[in-house]
Assembly symmetry: C2
Homo-oligomer: 271 residues x 2
């Protein structure tokens, strides 16, 4: 049996999806058919959402789950008339918050993922452009502006981590690939010396690295188990000898790598 799930929001739907997904992960024994309905900010659009939910209820034979972050009370009143089970994030917590804070919630739609303050927005965009310009050791000229310089072998998750750090935390992360030359020398590339306090390492199990590289370049020396094993050993030896903090990313998602790096490197979000 399939259970329909709707994420209803007056904005992007990101909060409704994040919260809903988190709850759904605890019910893996159920098959969910998920649908996001963003920008539901007028009575007409709520009516359209209600009709979609009701049609799903009819064809499924069970009530859909509806995760809502609608803020406007008139729209909320309209939505709860649907033939689904509505989980109302805003209404659920706001009363207790108002009581504790002694003030009334402002009830303005679209704030949580809107422009917010312009400074925070620019920080993120600038951090993202920084990550792109400083991807894969393209240049070290702008390292004085880096919050962190992420090091590791090719395909150890450096690039996605740097992009995620920029978008989520506004942190400026450069990344620098380590390769054969560095392992033979056995010490830090001289160009990195001035930024020693900003360096952070990522490593990965050789088996996993082999698997990832094979998908890109099957039958290459680059992807061979032998090469992966050699590189991972060499890079971990280098991190230890040079006292560069590092951890192993195998089995970790981009979100987990980023949160772990923020914590272990002692970084604070810029936004």
């Amino acid at each position: 049996m399939i259970r329909s799930v709707f994420f209803v929001s007056d904005g992007t739907g990101i909060t409704a999806e994040t919260l809903g997904h988190t709850l759904l992960t605890q019910f893996e024994q159920v098959s969910f058919q998920q649908m996001s309905l963003p920008f539901v900010n007028t009575d007409d659009k709520v009516e359209w959402a209600v009709q979609r939910i009701n049609r799903a209820a009819e064809s499924d034979g069970v009530k859909p789950l509806v995760f809502s972050t609608l803020i406007d009370s008139q729209l909320r009143t309209h939505l709860v008339k649907c033939n689904g089970v509505v989980f109302d994030f805003f209404e659920t917590f706001t009363g207790a918050m108002e009581k504790e804070l002694g003030v009334t919630a402002q009830r303005v739609a679209g704030r949580s993922h809107g422009m917010g303050n312009v400074r925070a927005y620019s920080e993120r965009i600038d951090a993202l452009h920084y990550a792109i310009q400083n991807d894969d050791g393209a240049t070290t000229r702008d390292y004085p502006m880096a919050d962190v310089v992420v090091m590791g072998v090719s395909r150890a998750g450096k690039t996605p981590t740097c992009m995620y750090l920029a978008l989520t935390y506004g942190v400026r992360a450069a990344n620098y690939p380590l390769a054969d030359d560095d392992f033979e020398r056995g010490s830090l590339p001289a160009v990195l010396e001035p930024y020693r306090h900003k360096l952070f390492g990522l490593t990965v199990d050789p088996e996993r690295l082999h698997q990832i590289r094979k998908e890109r370049r099957r039958d290459s020396r680059y992807a061979s188990m032998e090469q992966c094993l050699m590189e991972v050993r060499a890079v971990e030896r280098l991190f230890k000898r040079e006292r560069i903090p590092f951890f192993n990313i195998t089995q970790r998602s981009i979100e987990e790598i980023s949160a772990q790096l923020m914590q272990q490197a002692g970084l604070t979000r810029r936004i």
Copy 2:
């Protein structure tokens, strides 16, 4: 008066932060001091979190707000003994979900932003590498694999949008900058013709474009109000004539641009 806020999680803290931030945006009249405590997954770490919360309570003279997504019931029981007001996300909704679904929640920590299924994880990473390799018109060779090709003038938000689409939705988005040559010709670059059905335009108010470009290259022709006005007019004329769907990104966040583009282009998430 400052009110301390803690986001307590057994994983990355992303869900707790998302929920908390969304609620806090409705109380802009209050000054919040926010602190994320991720990876709180042992009794010792909960005790450490409780002590931090209690110290903040003492120094603030008011109870901190605590947004928790802890799943383990023993850890939760420990946390609620703190001297703060605990908003327990999991406990609040799980009972009603269990009742409606007729099954028991699995109560496994760290799932919502973990690796999840490996296929979904690879889709995101591949989409991100796709976006980087196809940034700023670098190549059109891989456009057959694109879900969407985002077009617009320089600094109209194309790059951050493509990165965000990759990380959040697993969508493969290339981006192609339009410039003087294209405006003079007044038609689509020939290289884009085969991908006409995948094209999507972003435009921006000339004043905002002028402001953004000035921050990069003050006193350049590129940043001049005259040039910005000309480019925006030309690009909008091109989008209309060629019937390329587009919208104006001024006053929209990356999240809003991405959600709007997904909806208007009829894209579905790959993850």
